[in-house]
């Protein structure tokens, strides 16, 4: 009892002292930096949302909840994984919680749903996950910056790797029938075909398909490999059915097909899958090892796309807040710092932000192997400093229509 009240008294005294102490910074800065965090806690996307939350919480814990000399108040909002929810929750964060910056959201359509509102209210937003190409390409938003990747960014180098290093000539594509699936697969297809490969088949199973068996049964046998562009549960379901059918062809994949967040649920069917991503928990650098160990200690699992995306968003916010001496209230200056952070360092290595707000970063070609009893994405090749435009001229890249089911056109499809 006595100790408790003593401690309370001390705390109170501390608080009073803190307010009385002459501070160098302005009065406003005694307030915490309020970070709004858009995540998904309910419904089908909840797994990614949870990993994002773990990422930001790990970051804040490591920083002792202080960045740029100011306390951080994290306000988490559950969008429910739908566009209307994303909009309402963003309004809540901006209008009710008066946040200085938003980290989130998870899905591309959520980011697109709030795009207009972000411009209108001039709210800095750091996107840890939403990968839609045009968010940082044909419809760039000056208040938006991404810490993960554009959909096609890691798949373009994978296209070159498949054609040049692996020497594949013919590939069949199967990918989720929605924008992210189209964009990842098209990025791969374009570079693969520019390097002499041929995409001879394209299958687009609906997102909510009940049974992948009917699609596995259609895949051509006379190809060198299958490109699988899936997200969430679908990669898991597809790979299992593919191998159940005795199909032994090599599989190439997008970052999310064998992301660490889902890889932990997979079995032998994932072995050998080669994917392109901006991160792998198996990167052999001290910074990555420390990060992976910390994530394993806190949450008992390897960090992946969503975990690092959110963690890196914290890193970027901190770096920008430091650059403006903690004065995040000056939105214009803060946003400028977010868009021009110089070199950022995190578990993936060093990266920069291009003039459209997308990272220029290493892309890792990874191969699923079993090490120490668990599946890991072993890095087999690193493409340094890859831009979202790959080696193409940005102007020409942007003049062409955005990647979709039919862009680039498929000239080599065989009946």
């Amino acid at each position: 009892m006595l100790i408790k009240s003593l401690r309370a008294a001390l705390c109170a005294a501390g608080a009073v002292a803190a307010t009385l102490l002459p501070l160098q910074s302005s009065h406003a800065q005694t307030e915490p930096i309020r970070i709004g965090f858009l995540t998904v806690r309910t419904g089908a996307l909840a797994a990614g949302g949870k990993q994002m939350e773990e990422g930001i919480q790990l970051f804040l814990k490591e920083r002792n909840n202080m960045i740029a000399g100011r306390k951080v108040e994290l306000i988490i909002a559950d969008t429910g994984g739908n566009p209307a929810g994303a909009k309402t929750k963003t309004q809540e964060l901006v209008e009710r919680n008066k946040v200085h910056v938003i980290i989130g959201p998870l899905a591309a359509f959520e980011a697109l749903a709030i795009d207009d509102y972000i411009r209108q209210t001039k709210t800095p937003i750091v996107a840890p996950s939403a990968a839609a190409e045009d968010l940082t390409q044909r419809k760039p938003n000056p208040w938006f910056v991404r810490t993960s990747t554009s959909s096609a960014q890691p798949n373009q180098p994978l296209g070159e790797y498949a054609a040049k290093t692996l020497g594949y000539k013919r590939v069949a594509i199967i990918a989720d029938d929605f924008a992210y699936g189209h964009e990842t697969a098209s990025g791969f297809q374009r570079v693969f075909e520019d390097n002499g490969g041929k995409v001879v088949q394209k299958l687009w199973p609906p997102l909510n398909v009940a049974d992948y068996g009917s699609y596995v049964g259609q895949l051509k046998g006379n190809v060198d490999a299958i490109y699988a562009g899936f997200a969430g549960a679908n990669g898991l379901r597809f790979l299992k059915q593919l191998r159940e059918y005795g199909n032994k062809l090599p599989v190439l994949g997008s970052a999310t097909t064998t992301d660490e967040g889902i890889l932990k649920q997979m079995g032998d069917e994932a072995l050998g899958v080669i994917s392109g991503s901006w991160y792998s928990a198996a990167i052999d650098t001290p910074e990555s090892k420390r990060f992976v160990a910390a994530a394993n200690k806190e949450f008992g699992a390897d960090p992946g796309y969503y975990t690092l995306g959110a963690y890196s968003s914290g890193v970027l916010v901190e770096q920008a807040a430091k650059a403006v001496n903690g004065k995040v209230e000056d939105k214009e200056a803060f946003m400028k710092a977010l868009r021009n952070p110089g070199t950022v360092k995190d578990a993936r290595g060093e990266w920069k932000v291009d003039e459209y707000g997308n990272p220029v970063q290493n892309i890792y070609i990874r191969k699923v192997e079993r090490k120490g009893g668990k599946l890991v994405n072993t890095v087999v090749k690193t493409y340094p400093n890859v831009s979202q435009f790959w080696t193409y001229e940005p102007k020409a890249f942007l003049a062409a229509p955005v990647y979709s089911r039919d862009v680039p056109p498929s000239k080599n499809i065989e009946p």
């Binding site: 806690r41 559950d78 429910g80 566009p83 209307a84 591309a108 419809k139 029938d177 929605f178």
Partner: protein
């Protein structure tokens, strides 16, 4: 509802923006939009006894048509809004022909199927709908040159449309047609024997329900300035049906109360309760067990019992 209560409600609604913060005003706009949508569904469910699980189709199609006309042809709102309403109403006229081949669970299933077909179309017909990326870059109208981008202005715009629609819907429900409609719900055979064309009554109701859903769809797309296939999805349809039933189907206030409950739980309470979907489930269960006709009739009955006067209102009375 008596006049005094109505006046108090109207006063509160008008005064709200002057006391509440921007966030709450936007929340109120959303409740009004959801309420109008629920009211339109209530015409079918509450008055017609036809349970639809595909009503979001009309809301979504109106929103898509309006957005598409703007993005593709640069139509202004003065042109796109009536066109969107017209297209959606015509669609309801066609769908009604199909859906009203059945009643009961058959009707529920046809509406669900039609809704799912449109949802699939919105997802898949990328050249028009832009698929999963949705239509963005839309605008709000500027009636008489008033900018509706602010929370207050849009709230009043929504309130006016809502009030006008409400007047029409009340008139509809209280008209002779409304009584016949209720008759077809409770005693379809007798109404048939009395010489009423039950099918036609239901058909006309189906079309007007589609029309009012389209109106709410326009408000929805003006509010969000974005439209995504999820707006036509089964979840949206089911949620709205739940609003109607939870509030009290076949009453005029019930759907509004139901909309308020669901919107507040989803958007406001979810900031404090992490497992809000579960809470929503329990709220529905609570309502159904203790107020089986919905909140509004339940409260009215409770009130009547407490004050000891008046009979308990019957289902179907406004």
């Amino acid at each position: 509802m008596n006049r005094r209560a109505l006046a108090v409600c109207a006063g509160l609604l008008v005064a709200m923006p002057f006391v509440a913060g921007e966030y709450y005003i936007n929340l109120a706009s959303q409740i009004l939009i959801a309420a109008l949508f629920a009211l339109s569904l209530n015409l079918l469910v509450g008055y017609g006894g036809l349970t639809s699980l595909g009503h979001a189709a009309y809301m979504g199609v109106a929103a898509y048509v309006s957005g598409w006309l703007f993005l593709k042809f640069g139509f202004g709102h003065l042109a796109s809004a009536p066109l969107a309403l017209l297209v959606t109403t015509l669609m309801a006229a066609v769908f009604g022909l199909i859906a009203l081949r059945a009643s009961g669970i058959g009707f529920l299933m046809i509406t669900l199927a039609l809704g799912q077909v449109l949802w699939g179309l919105a997802f898949r017909w990328v050249t028009v709908t832009n698929g999963d990326n949705g239509l963005s870059g839309l605008t709000r109208p500027m009636p008489f040159g008033i900018d509706l981008n602010g929370a207050n202005a849009f709230y009043f715009f929504t309130l006016i449309i809502f009030a006008a629609s409400m007047v029409c819907i009340v008139a509809f429900a209280n008209s002779a047609f409304g009584s016949v409609l209720r008759g077809t719900r409770d005693q379809p055979r007798r109404m048939l024997a009395l010489g009423h064309n039950v099918w036609l009554v239901r058909y006309l109701t189906f079309i007007s329900a589609g029309f009012w859903a389209a109106v709410s769809g326009l408000l929805f797309v003006y509010y969000h300035k974005f439209i995504h296939p999820q707006a036509l999805g089964l979840t949206n349809s089911a949620e709205t049906l739940l609003m109607v039933i939870a509030g009290g189907s076949g009453t005029l206030i019930g759907p509004i109360v139901g909309a308020a409950i669901v919107v507040l739980l989803k958007n406001y309470v979810s900031a404090f309760v992490e497992r809000w979907t579960m809470l929503l489930g329990f709220v529905f269960l609570f309502i159904v067990l203790f107020m089986p006709d919905g909140v509004v009739p339940g409260v009215q009955r409770l009130w009547a019992r407490l004050t000891g006067k008046g009979r308990a209102p019957q289902r179907g009375q406004p």
